[in-house]
Amino acid sequence: MTETLESLFEPIRLRIAAAESDDDLRRIERETLDKGGAVAALLAGIPTLPPTERPLTGKRANELKGAIQAGLAEAKERLALRAVERERLGEGFDATLPGARPTRGGLHPLVAVTRELEDLFTSMGYVVLDGPEIESDENNFQLLNIPPDHPARDAQDTFRCDADGKFVLRTHTSPGQVRALKERVVPAIRAGTFAPPFRAIVPGKVFRQETTDASHEHTFHQMEGLVVGKDISVGHLIGAMKTLLRGVFGREIEVRLRPGYFPFVEPGFELDARCPFCKEGCSVCKRSTWIELLPCGLVHPNVLRNCGVDPEVWSGFAFGLGLSRLVMLRYGIDDVRLLLSGDLRFLEQF
């Protein structure tokens, strides 16, 4: 055995050094360490050697095997590091390629806005109540101080459900006031558990028998508000409405009350808000800088009395917010009919 480890390993070392890929390394490994490789050849020759040389040759073979393995491992690490460095170059990266397209769900814009308002009001101690879409004429009109043949019924364009006029599709969320008074306020007063001021909102779907176009719809959404307590005043109403607007628009908005006639309030108002979209008039406010926002007023003593609440002891205010209109204002929707269209091209925008 004359060959040194160095002379045996040197050609292999050169091959390893020249290796450019893991495949190259695997080939070298196969050709040197596997059957028929350099180490195997060395070992295969052992039986033909004189016994004295055999241990040395065996040792050489093991040393060579070790050297090859170490060399390969080192080369593998070198190649891996080189690959990392290459990866770090970020070649061919297109910074403009789009992300994977997500499938999204979403809330209906009316629901989103209603929820915001509900959160705002519940944070101020209001309860959220619900009422049926098919209402009795009594709750929708009579108890609200609108007897049969009252001219205010004209303004309501009522869908009637039967010829006797017993049931109607509610024309406003105001029957929510009646239900709140009868079902919540009166029982609490009777039970001695009434903790004024009682505060409630009633969001819901309402109906008007009217021809539809981009700004008129026979089905839309409103939110009624009702507060009942001792000495509830116009001042409280103004305060509540300003708080509402602060919540909706995130800043102070000037309001004004104008007389408005609604049989279930006295005095009744139209509340205008200073147009949040302009300073000097725009298409939203029809150049007036005021937006007619909601009807409101002090609850008419007849309504309180009709529902079993003594108007000498208690007073309250009520308001009716047009949710559909608010949503249209908020998102700049120009056709009210889209809201209930079920058209995904509309819904997917929210």
Partner: protein
């Protein structure tokens, strides 16, 4: 209602000098809603008074004239005119080159039949003054050439458009005098007195009037002799035009004028046509008919109120006069009727006949019977000013059991302040008294209690109770002077609202993890849709006055609303996922309809490929979504059992409908859409869809007990994951296999996940292959290869029991 400033100034001269926009603003803040302010006939300010210096026939036309007109510019304008009445020496209204007339009609230099025309001589109609078009408008001879027509003829006027709805409770504001009274109160001015005293009457026999119905509380009848018909004076014509009334003829115009002036409708009969018959006011008889003066034959009912001459109906009380007795060119003797009719009665008749007139609109607001007398005098005095020769041959007949509605209301000044939310410094008793007096509400009293006299015209409706007076004071005080106040009360949170919490969770989960779009739908379902869904025969709540034919019925549940938009949505989207939370109704005899509150979901997508994974389809997605919402709501996992059908939902696939239960409680259903219905809905051809839908009852969900999630300690010993594939007869249910695997796991099977179902030809005839990931885990020890082997042996036995075998991997 339109209101003219010039007209208002007849009652309160001061108003003529106030900017119309300011009047509108003041009225808005104190009284009623003003929808707009417009200049009356704006073209009048753009046209010039001209003098027709010369007129000759047009050389090339028989009916055209060639004129030379002096408009004060120093030279004569040559103008071609087509009107037959143009003549030399007339004063006329000239639209010179560059003027724009109503209808966006711009005057340009032009050639008419070869002759140049430098402007136009205008007719009244061309200037927006009614529809008189029998030629050009000939101006008074003293009109000053070169001046603008509006200024020179004193025709500058502004019109306020008032929202009628905001006057519903104010019968006193349905005429100019009422609005003027209101503005006088706002500005602290006084109203001009009204000449309403009736002139002396002759002593002939008063006209006989018999009021047989209590729906007529007062009926005034006054014969007037010696009237002439003809064109109304210009001032009256212009005021009528300004408020949108077409001037017709003096008597008709006068009647309208008084109505628009005082808000009291009235009627003029041609007395000759009454043939001396007495006036009888009575209810109509069944099947009675009459012809109203619009020429329409009307069928009457017994709730209608009639004015008759003897037996013959001559007017539909409060709504419209009759054709037979209306005034005409030959009328010389009048019978003036001014009456008070029951508001509900007038309203019922006019609604029923769809005949909403200026008169009915006023009567239905409840006019004071005292106004009738005032209007009678006012009309007669106006007529006498125009025709001094008229005679009143007989005294006024005043029939009916009317009562003066004037009343007193007690007002506590403290209540005013408490309701408004102001203190005594902001609104003293003296200030309250001053405001009431400005409103012509006289009052007296002390110690904060006032007795307020409510005049008749305000007492029929609007001012009835103390709180009405709070409004009177508040609106003149101005609500803008009321300071903002905060509610004070208990800080205790309102009681929890389980359903609202549930709805929010559902919405968030479905819109989030579920990737569903929320929609909201109409409650109406079109008959055509109901027919497609096989729902036509089911009883529905409905309306009797729909917006469109076939749109009467109210949905019984939410799901049908989600099916109609599938076809249009599928045109744009391969994967439609919608949910709606809403209500449905079904009739319950004479009772309140039964209400359901539901969540409905639908998935409609392109059909999956033949080799798609077993769970790559709408039904599987939807079932997964239902599982997930139950999980999110902390409910027990739902179970599903096959249903033959769902009552009220015949549109579901007869073989693929499942009841959804939590424990014993049925909470809804999950189904594929019936393929027949799918075709009906237009989901065929390119739009062929894989559709699944579900409905869950919110009431059932809210009643289902929830379970708090309990933490389980993390596994201490590693488990093993084993994949098993079973070849089975096609009839074996996946659930049975899962149960078998669980049994084979002997309590160690922590998770069993089906990941493949193969039913293709390689499975062999009548066979299928199900493949599972099974995860075995023990709380006591590390599982070994031996455990896996034992498990597989047990699975092999279970497979055999199911008629199949364990396939070696």
């Amino acid at each position: 209602m339109h209101v003219s400033r010039r007209w208002l100034a007849r009652h309160c001269a001061f108003l003529q000098n106030i900017d119309a926009a300011e009047l509108a603003r003041e009225l808005s803040l104190s009284t009623c809603e003003v929808e707009g302010v417009q200049r009356f006939a704006p073209a009048l300010s753009d046209v010039t008074i001209g003098f027709v210096a010369e007129r000759a026939p047009h050389p090339d036309s028989d009916h055209l004239s060639l004129t030379k007109v002096d408009v004060g510019s120093g030279e004569l304008l040559q103008i071609v005119c087509g009107a037959p009445n143009v003549a030399q020496g007339q004063k006329v209204a000239v639209a010179t080159i560059g003027t724009t007339l109503p209808g966006d009609f711009k005057i340009k230099k032009s050639k008419i039949r070869g002759v140049e025309s430098q402007g136009m001589i205008c007719s009244e109609r061309e200037l927006g003054l009614g529809d008189e078009h029998n030629g050009i408008w000939v101006l008074p001879s003293d009109a000053q050439v070169g001046k603008r027509v509006a200024e020179a003829l004193d025709l500058v006027d502004w019109v306020l458009e008032i929202d009628n709805k905001s006057l519903t409770h104010r019968p006193d504001l349905w005429g100019h005098r009422g609005i003027a009274r209101e503005l006088a109160a706002i500005y602290g001015k006084t109203l001009e007195p009204l000449a309403s005293a009736l002139p002396a009457q002759g002593n002939a026999k008063p006209y006989a009037v018999r009021v047989e119905s209590e729906k007529c509380s007062r009926y005034l009848a006054l014969p007037i002799d010696g009237v002439k018909t003809g064109r109304s004076p210009e001032w009256m014509r212009h005021l009528l035009l300004a408020v949108g009334q077409r001037p017709i003829e003096l008597l008709v115009d006068l009647s309208n004028f008084v109505m628009l002036d005082l808000g009291q409708p009235n009627h003029l009969f041609d007395r000759a046509r009454l043939r001396g018959e007495p006036i009888v006011v009575r209810q109509a008889r069944a099947a009675e008919r009459m012809q109203t003066l619009d020429g329409v034959e009307r069928n009457l009912v017994t709730t209608d109120l009639l004015i008759c001459a003897g037996e013959n109906p001559v007017a539909l009380a409060g709504v419209m006069g009759g054709e037979q007795s209306k005034v005409g060119a030959e009328t010389r003797e009048l019978l003036l009727e001014v009456a008070s009719f029951d508001p509900a009665c007038v309203r019922r008749t006019s609604s029923r006949l769809g005949l909403r007139t200026d008169a009915s609109a006023r009567f239905e607001k409840n006019l004071s019977p005292t106004l009738a007398l005032e209007a009678t005098g006012h009309l007669v005095n106006l007529l006498r000013e125009l025709q001094p020769e008229i005679k009143l041959p007989a005294p006024l007949t005043d029939a009916g059991k009317w009562k003066d509605p004037a009343r007193k209301i007690s007002l506590r000044t403290d209540v005013v302040r408490r309701r408004l939310g102001v203190n005594v410094e902001q609104l003293s008793d003296a200030k309250i008294v001053e405001i009431l007096q400005r409103l012509e509400l006289r009052c007296e009293g002390r110690d904060g209690v006032l007795t307020v006299d409510i005049p008749s015209i305000r007492a029929t409706k609007d001012l009835t109770i103390e709180q009405d007076l709070v409004e009177e004071v508040g609106r003149i005080f101005r609500y803008g002077n009321v300071p903002e106040a905060r509610l004070e009360g208990s800080l205790a949170p309102p009681p929890p609202d389980a359903k609202r919490v549930l709805v929010r969770k559902l919405e968030d989960r479905l819109a989030g993890v579920g990737r569903f779009r929320q929609t909201l739908s109409y409650s109406f379902v079109a008959d055509a849709s109901l027919a497609k869904l096989g729902l036509s025969e089911l009883p529905h709540s409905s309306v009797i006055n729909p917006v469109a034919e076939g749109l009467t019925r109210i949905r019984r549940g939410v799901a049908p609303s989600l099916l109609a938009p599938l076809e249009p949505n599928r045109r744009h989207s391969k994967d439609v996922r919608l949910f709606e939370i809403g209500k449905g109704y079904s009739p319950d005899g004479a009772n309140e309809p039964r209400e359901v509150h539901e969540l409905a979901l639908v998935i409609a997508r392109e059909p999956s490929a033949a080799n798609a994974k077993f769970d790559d389809n709408a039904f599987a997605f939807l079932r997964g979504a239902v599982d997930d919402v139950c999980f999110a709501l902390r409910l027990e996992a739902p179970t599903y059992t096959k249903l033959a059908r769902v009552d009220g939902a015949p549109y579901l696939h007869p073989g693929k409908t499942l009841a959804v239960r939590i424990g014993e409680r049925e909470i809804g259903w999950l189904a594929a859409l019936d393929p027949r219905v799918e075709r009906e809905l237009g989901l065929a051809g390119e739009l062929k869809s894989d559709v699944a839908l579900a409905t869950l009852s919110l009431d059932a969900l809210v009643a289902t007990p929830t379970r708090e999630k309990i933490y389980r300690s993390l596994p201490r010993f590693p488990g093993v994951k084993i994949d098993v594939a079973l070849a089975l007869p096609t009839g074996v249910a996946a659930e049975d296999v899962r149960v078998a695997l669980e049994r084979a796991g002997k309590g160690l099977a922590r998770d069993i996940e089906l990941f493949d179902v193969y039913t293709g030809p390689n499975a062999g005839p009548g066979r299928k292959s199900l493949a599972y990931h099974v995860y075995l885990e023990s709380d006591e020890r590390t599982l070994t290869d031996q455990d896996s082997q034992k498990f597989l042996q047990r699975v092999e036995r279970e497979a055999t029991t199911l008629g199949g075998e364990l396939r070696k991997a």
